[in-house]
C-alpha cells in the first residue's frame, strides 16, 4: 500500500509543474512531453532527462510498447500531443515520410557541442535525430545448463536447435528456447532477422517492389518454425517482456532477445541464482552464412514539427542533456551500449559490437519497410501453426504488402 501511494505521488509530481529549484540543462519555459517505448533502459534515460529538465519544467513522459502505432496520430495533430519522440532507425522513416519531425541543425549548432559526430542522424544533409544508444538482438544462455550437458555455446541457429533438443531430451526443461514470436511487430522482426541472416533482400533494388517469396525466405521461415518447436507452445502470445519473465522464472535456457534486456535481466531483483548463471553470446548465423541473423538498431530522439519553437527548444535541451550525460552512461554501463562521449562499455556490450564487426545489417530505413513489416506481422501466423506452406505464407505477405502499398501511393 505504501509503495502504491509513493507511486501515485510520483506520478503526480512527474506530471505537474513545481515552483522553486532550477534546471541543470537551462530549461526555462516550454513544456516537454515525450512519447517513448517501454523498457528499462529508456526508463533510466528518461530519469536523466527529467532531472536535467529540472523541477520547474512542465515535464511528462508516456512509455508505451505501442509507441510506433501511436506516433503518427499523436504527432500529426497541430499542436502535437507530444513535443518529442524517442525514435529508432525503424520508426524514424514513418515520421520522416509525413514530415512529423523537424530538422535540428539550429539547435545542435546552439547547444550540441558535446555531441559526438556518430550521434547525429543526418538525412540529406540535415540532422533529424540525435542517437544515444545502439541495440541488437543476440543470444542469451544459461551457463550451468549448457555445461551440465556438455553443450558448447551455439554459434549457428542449427546448433541452437541441436542444443535445445538436447536440453529437452535431458528432461531439464520442456521448452528450452524462447524468442519474441508474438504475432504483430515482434513476429515480423523475427523474420526480418532470419531473412537478413540468410542474405536476403526485401525489395528489388531502388524500388518499392517486394521480393521475399524466394528460397531464402522459405529457408528463413523453416528455421523459425523449427525454433518455435522447441519454444513454449504459447509463443504467438509472447513479446520481449513475456520472454524475459520466462527467463527469470527459469523456464528457458536459450533465448534471442535485445541487448538492452540486460538492464532488467541482470539487476538485483528476482532469482539471483538464475541471474548469476545468465550469459550473453553473439547472435548466431544461419544457413552457412557468415552474417549474424540479427539487425543493428540505434535509438535516439526526434523533435515534433507540430510543436512550438519554445517547446521544441526545451525538449531538445532536456533530452540532449541526457544524451550527452557521461555520468548516466557510466553509472549504468550494462543497461545498453551508450553512444555517449566518455562512456566505457560494460561487459554486456560484446554481442552488439560482435554483430557490427561480423557485418550485421542495420534495420532497413526505407519509407515502405514498415508496411512490409506489418504484412509479415499477420501473415506468418498460419505457417507457424502448421496450417499453411512457407511459399503460401510468403505469397500472402507479398499480396498483403502490395494492397497496402498501393493504397499508400508507393506502388
Amino acid at each position: 500500500m505504501k509503495k502504491l501511494l509513493i507511486a501515485l505521488l510520483f506520478t503526480f509530481v512527474s506530471t505537474s509543474a513545481y515552483a522553486g529549484g532550477h534546471s541543470p540543462c537551462g530549461v526555462t519555459d516550454g513544456s516537454i512531453k515525450i512519447l517513448a517505448n517501454e523498457f528499462t533502459t529508456y526508463r533510466i534515460f528518461m530519469d536523466e532527462v527529467k532531472s536535467c529538465a529540472g523541477p520547474d519544467a512542465d515535464f511528462s513522459v508516456t512509455h508505451s510498447v505501442d509507441h510506433n502505432k501511436l506516433q503518427v496520430a499523436a504527432l500529426s495533430a497541430n499542436p502535437a500531443e507530444f513535443s518529442a519522440k524517442l525514435v529508432t532507425n525503424g520508426s524514424i522513416t514513418t515520421l520522416m515520410n509525413d514530415n512529423l519531425i523537424r530538422p535540428l541543425d539550429d539547435l545542435v549548432a546552439k547547444y550540441g557541442s558535446a555531441l559526438q559526430d556518430n550521434q547525429k542522424i543526418v538525412i540529406d544533409g540535415k540532422i533529424y535525430a540525435v542517437a544515444f544508444m545502439a541495440n541488437a538482438q543476440h543470444l542469451w544462455y544459461r551457463e550451468s545448463i549448457l555445461n551440465d550437458l556438455g553443450i558448447a555455446v551455439p554459434s549457428t541457429y542449427e546448433e541452437v536447435i541441436a542444443a535445445a533438443e538436447k536440453i529437452k531430451a535431458s528432461g531439464k526443461m520442456a521448452n528450452p528456447y524462447a524468442g519474441a514470436f508474438k504475432s504483430g511487430w515482434n513476429l515480423g522482426q523475427e523474420f526480418v532477422n532470419m531473412y537478413l541472416g540468410h542474405g536476403g533482400d526485401f525489395f528489388k533494388a531502388g524500388t518499392a517492389e517486394v521480393s521475399v517469396n524466394n528460397a531464402k525466405g522459405v529457408a528463413a521461415l523453416n528455421m523459425l518454425k523449427r525454433l518455435t518447436e522447441v519454444s513454449n507452445p504459447d509463443f504467438l502470445t509472447q513479446d520481449t517482456n513475456a520472454v524475459k519473465e520466462e527467463w527469470e522464472s527459469g523456464n528457458v535456457a536459450l533465448m534471442h532477445i535485445w541487448n538492452s534486456g540486460a538492464a532488467s535481466l541482470l539487476d538485483d531483483e528476482g532469482d539471483q541464482a538464475i541471474k548469476a548463471d545468465t550469459r550473453l553470446a553473439p547472435s548466431p548465423s544461419v544457413g552457412g552464412g557468415s552474417k549474424p541473423a540479427t539487425t543493428l538498431w540505434w535509438d535516439g530522439f526526434g523533435i515534433a514539427t507540430n510543436t512550438s519553437d519554445e517547446n521544441a527548444e526545451a525538449s531538445f535541451r532536456a533530452l540532449l542533456g541526457a544524451a550527452t550525460s557521461t555520468e548516466m552512461a557510466n553509472a549504468n554501463p550494462n543497461a545498453t551500449i551508450w553512444l555517449i562521449d566518455g562512456y566505457s562499455p560494460g561487459d554486456t556490450a560484446g554481442p552488439v559490437v560482435d554483430a557490427a564487426n561480423r557485418g550485421a545489417t542495420p534495420y532497413p530505413s526505407l519509407p515502405y519497410m514498415s508496411l512490409l513489416h506489418g504484412a509479415l506481422s499477420t501473415e506468418l501466423v498460419e505457417f507457424l501453426q502448421g496450417n499453411e506452406s512457407a511459399e503460401k505464407a510468403l505469397a500472402d505477405v507479398e499480396a498483403a504488402y502490395v494492397a497496402k502499398a498501393t493504397e499508400q501511393g508507393f506502388l
Partner: protein, 342 residues
C-alpha cells in the same frame, strides 16, 4: 399521436442521430473511395552510427504539394472495396478457375483477410448469441425465485461480467488461462496433459473467445429478461397453478410466450454487438488466429505506417452492410408481428 407532435417529439433525437451517426457514415464512405496521393521518392545520403549510405526517402516537398492539391487523396472509386484486403474479387475469380475442388476453393477463400475475418465474426456471433439467450433466461428465472433479502447481492454478482470493462475482463482471463495460471493449470490437471495450452491452437483460442463472449454477454440478456419477468401477468399463472400445471408447464406455456418479443430484442442486440467483437481479441492476444471485421478496422488505423483511412472506411461500410444483412430476418419478423397485432 398527430404527425406534427410526433415530428417535434422526434426532431431532437433525429437531429442528433443525423449529426453523430449519419454524417460520420457519409464521411467514412467518401473516405473509402479515396487512396493516398502518390508518394514521390528520392535517393538521399543517410548517416547514422553505423555509417553513411545512399537510401530512398519520401520527397516531402513534392508529396506535400500533391497532398495539398488533393486533400482527400486520389479518387479510387470502389477500388479499395474489391482489393485483396477486402472483397478480393480478382483473387476469388482466379481461385474459382484454378481450383479443382470446392474444399480447395474454400481454403483459398478463407485465406483472404476479409473472408477470414468474416468467418470468425460470424462464428462468434452465432456461437455466442443462442447460449446467451438461453443462459440469460435460466439465470433470470432462478434469480426471480430467490428470497428478497438475497436478490440484491445475487443480481450484483450476476451482472458483474458486464460491469467489467471487456478489455480488462479478457486480460484477467488471459492470465488465468495461462499454462501457469489457475484455470490453465486446472485444465491441464483435468485432461492430464502438461503441454495443453489454450493459447496455442486456433481452435482452442476460438473456443476460449466464444466462452468469454458468452460470459460477458449473459448478464445483458439476464437484465432484460429479469425486467420482463416482472411484467408477467399473475392471473394466468395462478389459474395454471389451480389447474395443477407444473412449474415447467407454467414457464413453457405462459412465461415464454410472454417473453417472446423480449427474446427477439435480445437476439437483435446480441447479434449486433457480437458482430463488432474487438476487445477480447486484443485482450487474449489472439490477433494471429482470430481476426474480426472490427479488428481489421482497428489494425488499419493503428498500423505502424500512416493510417489507412480508405481501407478502414471500406471495412466499416462492409461491416454496416453485414450488420444490416444479419438483422434483416429478425427485423422482417418483428415488422410482420407488428402488422398482425394492428
Amino acid at each position: 399521436m398527430p404527425h406534427r407532435t410526433f415530428f417535434w417529439f422526434f426532431f431532437p433525437s433525429g437531429l442528433a442521430m443525423l449529426l453523430f451517426i449519419g454524417l460520420p457514415i457519409i464521411s467514412s464512405f467518401f473516405q473509402s473511395l479515396h487512396i493516398e496521393p502518390e508518394q514521390i521518392l528520392m535517393e538521399v545520403e543517410k548517416c547514422d552510427p553505423f555509417g553513411c549510405k545512399t537510401e530512398t526517402k519520401v520527397d516531402i516537398e513534392a508529396t506535400t504539394k500533391l497532398q495539398e492539391e488533393q486533400p482527400l487523396g486520389r479518387f479510387n472509386g470502389l477500388g479499395t472495396y474489391v482489393d485483396r484486403n477486402h472483397l478480393a474479387f480478382d483473387e476469388i475469380k482466379e481461385a474459382w478457375t484454378n481450383s479443382s475442388s470446392i474444399p480447395e476453393f474454400t481454403d483459398i477463400l478463407l485465406n483472404l483477410p476479409f473472408y477470414k475475418a468474416l468467418l470468425f465474426t460470424l462464428t462468434f456471433c452465432f456461437a455466442v448469441t443462442p447460449p446467451v439467450v438461453v443462459l440469460g433466461f435460466i439465470v433470470a428465472l432462478s434469480v426471480n425465485t430467490i428470497t428478497k433479502s438475497l436478490k440484491g447481492p445475487t443480481i450484483f454478482g450476476v451482472i458483474l461480467p458486464m460491469i467489467v470493462t471487456p478489455l480488462i475482463g479478457s486480460l484477467v482471463l488471459f492470465w488465468m488461462i495461462d499454462a501457469k495460471g489457475i484455470l490453465g493449470s486446472f485444465i491441464q490437471f483435468l485432461f492430464d496433459d502438461p503441454n495443453l495450452s489454450l493459447k496455442s491452437s486456433s481452435q482452442l483460442t476460438w473456443i476460449t473467445l466464444i466462452i468469454y463472449g458468452i460470459w460477458h454477454n449473459t448478464p445483458f440478456a439476464f437484465v432484460v429478461f429479469y425486467a420482463a419477468l416482472q411484467t408477467v401477468p399473475q392471473d394466468p399463472i395462478e389459474a395454471a397453478i389451480i389447474d395443477g400445471a407444473s412449474r415447467y408447464e407454467r414457464v413453457r406455456h405462459i412465461v415464454i410466450p410472454h417473453l417472446y418479443p423480449v427474446a427477439t430484442f435480445i437476439i437483435l442486440i446480441c447479434l449486433m454487438d457480437n458482430f463488432r467483437v474487438l476487445e477480447p481479441i486484443i485482450g487474449f492476444a489472439a490477433e494471429g488466429v482470430a481476426q474480426s471485421l472490427s479488428w481489421m478496422i482497428y489494425n488499419d488505423l493503428r498500423s505502424e505506417n500512416k493510417m489507412l483511412f480508405g481501407s478502414a472506411g471500406a471495412t466499416s461500410m462492409l461491416t454496416i452492410i453485414g450488420v444490416a444483412i444479419l438483422l434483416t430476418p429478425v427485423l422482417i419478423r418483428t415488422w410482420r408481428e407488428f402488422r398482425t397485432e394492428r
